[in-house]
Amino acid sequence: MDEKLFIRLKNNISEIARVSQLLNDFRLENNLPGEISNAIDLALDEILNNIINYGYDDKNEHEITVQIILSDNTLSMIIEDDGRPFNPLDVPEPNTEDSLEDRTVGGLGLYLVRNVMDNMQYTYENNKNVIKMIKNVRG
């Protein structure tokens, strides 16, 4: 049977710590392997940071939702927000071979997410950004 975690959070950066704690509880309850929990931990920090810091044109309170569904072979994570339309897959990859002097960190967070997750999709539905990511659960 699938195990699910559903989190509602406000667009406040301090909420990320609470999400991380809930994720840790979910990891312990379901005995998630370190590789899986590290990947979703990183993906959540990066994506929520992006949404909260850059996603809104106003200063109002908004709700972001995170759904995590653990099935036999995969862990899916769906993040929805009502910020301005933004496709994270359109962000160019950083040049990871630049020297220290030339390196910048623009786009690095999303690049990390794309690398640690096995699949990432974006849609804009009902005035919401919907990011769906999948991490394969091996063994």
């Binding site: 950066i13 301090s14 990320i16 710590a17 991380s20 370190g34 590789e35 590290n38 931990d41 990183l42 920090d45 990066e46 929520l48 940071n49 950083p94 040049n95 990871t96 071979e97 630049d98 020297s99 220290l100 002097e101 390196r103 910048t104 960190v105 690095l108 967070g109 690049y111 990390l112 690398n115 640690v116």
Partner: protein, 111 residues
């Protein structure tokens, strides 16, 4: 995140514990940049108790690395856990920083 600072004859060592993420990166940035602005030019970051790093933390390291380079300083990282090292590898940060297995090695090599 907890940051404990020790000073040896050779370098300043910051021992990082917990999570270097969106929430904690700014206090880490403040501490690290204050040291550099105070002319501390040999800094070792001990990652042995660091459990998590995101791009917010990498950003601070990059900033410190660039700044230290301009003043002929040195930044050494040591005792990275495997999953933290993986983030460095993916980000292409492994080649940007000097990394050592432990604090002693870092101090020895940063001279």
């Amino acid at each position: 995140m907890e940051i404990n600072q020790t000073k040896t004859d050779e370098a300043i060592v910051l021992h990082l514990e917990g999570r270097l993420d969106t929430n904690t990166a700014s206090s880490f940035e403040e501490k690290l940049m204050a040291l550099i602005n105070n002319n501390e030019n040999k800094i070792i970051l001990d990652f042995s108790a660091l459990d998590f790093i995101s791009s917010s933390g990498l950003r601070v390291l990059l900033m410190a690395g660039k700044k230290l380079k301009t003043i002929n300083g040195k930044l050494g990282l040591c005792a990275l856990k495997d999953h933290i090292k993986e983030v460095f590898d993916v980000a292409g940060f492994t080649m940007l920083f000097s990394m050592f297995p432990d604090q002693d090695e870092a101090i020895k090599n940063i001279q």
